[in-house]
């Protein structure tokens, strides 16, 4: 190895190290799987490292309000980022929709859910699990679908609520509830339903499940945080996001 090559290598290595930063990200639980993949690609492509914390958006809000050191929030809704911005806890003008969630009516068993959701009109199921509409946008969307279909009378007595969409998935997955409104991202890989039967709810039956990202005050001068927000809007991230059943 010549000296010059060595110096060039050392120089580039040193340069990369000097630029490589770290960003702590609060990520909505429903976005766990795609974000892990995106973070890996992000680290490979930019050298920056993303530390991910997964949880409920409402909990993150409370933590951020009380000084949690997150630089970026990937929320499960569009209201929380807007609220943080209004309260001066996020940087104005950095909000954008990184993914739009899709709702699916799902059963662990094959041939239970038809492709129009007509099963909701039958009386042939024991429980219908939804996310708590007070806490989770997916729960609000589920209630909207139930009302739009006009089945609230027969369906509401059969409702059980998960505190998050993750718990709702658990209820259906353990078959304690035969049916449930879950996130399409939870039950599909590469555009295919992995198990059981499902109806992918048309988006015109509920308010769009917009999930917004925002730069928080703690990330204002963090180059890695800025880079991550840009990366989320790039083609690599977009391909990963859609492969998990999200719309853009």
């Amino acid at each position: 190895m010549t000296l010059r090559l060595f110096l060039a290598l050392a120089g580039s290595l040193f340069g990369a190290l000097a630029q490589a930063g770290e960003v702590t990200v609060a990520v909505a639980a429903n976005f766990t799987a795609p974000m892990q993949k995106i973070a890996k690609a992000f680290e490979q492509d930019t050298g920056h490292k993303a530390q991910l914390a997964f949880g409920a958006t409402g909990k993150f809000y409370a933590q951020i309000k009380n000084g949690a050191p997150f630089a970026v929030l990937l929320a499960a809704d569009d209201e929380t980022p807007a609220r943080l911005e209004k309260e001066g806890l996020a940087i104005a003008g950095t909000r954008f929709t990184y993914a739009t969630g899709r709702l699916a009516l799902w059963s662990k068993q094959a041939n239970v859910v038809d492709d129009k959701g007509e099963v909701l009109r039958s009386n042939s199921f024991n429980k219908l699990a939804i996310a708590d509409p007070k806490l989770a946008p997916y729960g609000i969307a589920a209630m909207e679908v139930i009302h739009k279909m006009g089945v609230q009378g027969s369906v509401i007595p059969k409702l059980v609520q998960g505190e998050s969409i993750g718990q709702t998935y658990q209820f259906v997955s353990t078959e304690n509830a035969q049916l449930g409104f879950v996130a399409l991202s939870q039950i599909s890989v590469d555009g295919r339903i992995t198990q059981g039967s499902a109806w992918v709810v048309p988006q015109n039956l509920h308010t769009p499940l917009k999930q917004d990202a925002v730069l928080l005050n703690a990330g204002k001068d963090n180059a890695a945080a800025h880079a991550l927000l840009k990366y989320l809007q790039g083609d690599t991230a977009k391909a990963i996001i859609t492969s998990y059943g999200y719309a853009l």
Binding site: G58, D132, K134, Q161, E163, F171, T174
Partner: protein
């Protein structure tokens, strides 16, 4: 303090759950504790450890196992379906079952201590007086172990009131059926309704403090009483 009708509903349900659980737990824990206090079997240590497990296991683990076990393909679910009760998740009796598991050590341990503190003498004396085993148990052992029973009941009740993780995982948050105080508070906090959360959380805080205060008062009184009696 602004408690809503739903908050009061949750309080009533919580008290009902804690009462039913406490009664059933005392019935279940007494024979277990008696056996643990007297046996020389090699099974003593494994059984004692099993009973103590809920002390150290996170409620999420208990809740997860219960959810799977209660489901239509789980062992408990298979049994309850066979018995014609359907599945127990998302029902009051499902919560009772979960609470019994969760609070078991809090009922068993004080009873074991009380039975052990009694020593073998009282039962031996009762036997020489020709009392049958059952007779001796109810007329000699139970009165002597009364402080243990009171302690077990108070701890089981308070611990069930404070239960959260297990209920969250097997309850399904149904008003008047499975929405207890702790999950109601959680809902308020997550929905950012902090003032409502404060009301209920304050009630919980005062209740727990009063129970602990009562326990320590009761403890002091019984030890002093026993000293005087001796």
């Amino acid at each position: 303090m602004n408690l809503s009708a739903e908050d009061f509903q949750a309080i009533a349900l919580t008290l009902q759950l804690a009462s039913v659980t406490t009664v059933l737990l005392l019935l279940l824990a007494t024979p277990v504790a008696w056996w643990l206090a007297h046996t020389r079997s090699a099974w003593r240590a494994p059984v004692a450890s099993l009973v103590a497990l809920p002390l150290v296991l996170p409620p999420t683990v208990l809740g997860f196992y219960l959810l799977v076990a209660l489901g239509p393909n789980g062992p408990i679910g298979q049994f309850t379906q066979w018995a014609g009760w359907g599945t127990l998740a998302f029902s009051f009796w499902g919560l009772v079952l979960g609470s019994i598991v969760y609070s078991l050590p809090f009922a068993v341990q004080p009873l074991v201590n009380a039975f052990e503190a009694m020593g073998p003498r009282p039962m031996e004396v009762a036997a020489t007086l020709r009392a049958s085993k059952w007779d001796a148990f109810f007329t000699v052992a139970v009165p002597l172990a009364k402080p243990g029973f009171v302690m077990a009941a108070m701890l089981s009740f308070a611990h069930t009131v404070g239960e959260f993780g297990v209920v969250l995982m097997i309850g399904g948050n149904i008003p008047d059926k499975t929405r207890v105080v702790s999950t109601q508070i959680y809902g308020h906090v997550e929905a950012m309704a902090y003032s409502q959360a404060h009301g209920l959380a304050g009630v919980m805080l005062v209740f727990s403090f009063v129970v602990l205060l009562g326990l320590s008062w009761f403890n002091r009184r019984t030890t002093r009483h026993q000293k005087v009696g001796a």
